[in-house]
Amino acid sequence: MAAREITYVQALNEALREEMRRDERVFLMGEDIGIIGGVFKVTQGLYEEFGPERVRDTPISETAIVGAAIGAAIAGMRPVAEIMYMDFLMCAGDQLINHLPKIRFMTGGKLKVPAVIRTQYGLYRYAAAQHSQFYPAFLMNIPGFYIEVPSTPYDAKGLLKSAIRDENPDIFIECAALYRIKGPVPEEEYLIPLGQADIKREGNDVTVFALSYMVHVALSAAKKLEAEGISVEVVDPRTLNPFDKRTLIESVKKTGRLVIIEPDHKTAGVGAEVAAIVAEEAYEYLNAPVIRLAAEDIPPPFSPKAYNAFLPNEEKLINAIKKVMKYKR
């Protein structure tokens, strides 16, 4: 495959463009995604290429945005709706939770809802408590939609294309702190199957389950620990529903140790489910307590000093890994 480096935001943009070219049922809607190409520029240039009919600026009406995406999807379209910040998903809470994931089921399979709801959460943007939230565990708790949490440009593109083609509703959660990172993305078209975790780095001593942005923190820590003779395996789930239990469990069976690093709140976060799966299904293989590193259980503070300490980081991860390494097999 031809290798080139593009940013996460470019990868997303390519995915949208390619899918819109491929399938004319695909269209976009959201606040400020058209004329200015989105406040984060993910949809840049698409209004120019596809026009106002397929790249629709909407009023500030999150309920209507998600609701209209659902309606268009059940009537044969392939809407990709953008909710500007993950926080605002809650402004569409009823459509998001009571409708989107339930319609197929409630109608006995008569309808399908192939809508994608794209959104992003930021990190280190110091945007305070109403513009910094990330609560993927709630979405995992609600059956009926798929959830993507790409950590690299490669995954972002491949997963978004798959989500658009998939017949199920998808919540596609981007990380604004990754928008500008670069990574290799082939020129050729590719898709990433939904429900396959990716081992971002192989290792034997400890499994680090890293979510979204935290994959990069884990990789950096793993590199440093290699020098100290600790071999870290980094598991990136890539999708939270379907959740690839097998890759997780296989890794823990191999390493016997699990550290979780996630940028959502610790209590009842994604890591809780991960730890619970292991406590249920790989209990005998575990040689050390599980450690969860997550955002503190407080709303995101504005002040950068407090905010930076609110999130888990590489140092905390290295310490946690060393701690579980003290337990012998």
Partner: protein, 329 residues
């Protein structure tokens, strides 16, 4: 708001009029049977009767083509039957059987049969309105001339979903008709204590669309007003809000919630029975002889009996069966 059948019926074909009569009787008998079966414990869950409001569903749906769409509510049996769902499949759904419109998974409040244009029903008050807008958006983008009707109650006009959806539909000039069934109560709460507008139809001003009040017990008036709105929508001129004033004879749901309506009010509205009014009109204008109507009534009785028998004899879904319908896989 005309208190008598002011509008001329000469332009309406006998066939349409008789079909209206048939549908209204069908709904009435169906609902009477539901009450009976509910009390007998044969119908589980929660259900809401449509008795007294038949002219709205029938007047509206008679103005639609089969391939036009409606979206319905918690009080949806009348809409489903008026649009053409066979009583067998609706009854089986209420019984929670595999042969029901939603395979017994949805129940009373989620009736869906896209083949006849019942594209979705939501039990969330106001919930179907944004989705209807999305269906209408799909019609427009697909260059189809179908129109979409969203039914909802007076109470629903106080939801944020109503507001966002009507605004979006107007901005995008979508082929959707918003039919508010104003039966003066949301459960126990009278419109005067919940809707601040002088008239619900006035809310159309906020969206710069026509807002019309009709006598919801006059099937002819409902029909004609809907026809106008349908034509406007098909011409690409956008949505209409219709406020149809009517009344429910039964309590909110199947069980008694205490007194909140004056007995005289209920009685007065029963005097204005929409079915009797159509019958009187058909007979007084000499459009049909009484025995034709009696035959219709007889036919309906048989259909209802048949529907109950069909439902009773149908199989219940089990957990493994329903599990298939969460995702498209």
């Amino acid at each position: 708001m005309g208190l008598n059948m002011s509008s001329s019926i000469s332009e309406i074909s006998k066939e349409v009029l008789l079909d209206m009569y048939y549908k209204m009787i069908l709904i009435r008998r169906f609902e009477e049977k539901v009450v009976e079966l509910y009390r007998a414990g044969e119908i589980p869950g929660i259900a809401h009767g449509y008795i007294g409001e038949e002219a709205v569903a029938v007047g509206v749906c008679s103005a639609l083509r089969k391939d036009d769409y409606i979206l319905s509510t918690h009080r949806g049996h009348g809409h489903s039957l008026a649009k053409g769902i066979h009583p067998r499949y609706l009854m089986a759904e209420l019984f929670g059987r595999k042969t029901g419109v939603c395979k017994g998974i949805g129940g009373s409040m989620h009736s869906t049969e896209p083949e006849v244009g019942v594209i979705f029903s939501s039990a969330i008050v106001g919930g179907n309105i944004p989705i209807a807008v999305g269906v209408a958006l799909a019609m427009k983008m697909q260059r189809r001339d179908n129109v979409v009707v969203s039914f909802f109650g007076d109470g629903a006009t106080n939801t944020g979903a109503f507001h966002e959806a009507l605004n979006l539909a107007s901005i995008w000039k979508l082929p959707v008709i918003f039919v508010c069934e104003n039966n003066f109560y949301a459960i126990s709460t009278h419109v005067s204590r919940s809707v601040a507008a002088k008239e619900i139809a006035d809310r159309a001003v906020a969206y710069n669309i026509p807002g019309k009040v009709v006598d919801g017990n006059d099937v002819i008036e409902v029909y004609k007003t809907t026809l106008e709105a349908v034509e406007r929508a098909r011409r690409g001129e956008g949505p209409t809000l219709i406020e149809a004033r009517t009344y429910r004879w039964l309590d909110h749901g199947m069980y008694y919630l205490g007194p909140y309506r004056p007995k005289e009010e209920v009685e007065a509205w029963k005097q204005r029975c929409p079915i009797k009014r159509l019958k009187d009109l058909l007979l007084s204008k000499g459009i049909v002889a009484e025995d034709v109507l009696v035959n219709i009534e007889r036919r309906v009785e048989e259909e209802i009996e048949d529907a109950v028998k069909f439902a009773r004899e149908s199989e219940e879904p089990d957990l493994d069966f329903v599990k298939q319908f969460v995702y498209v896989r």
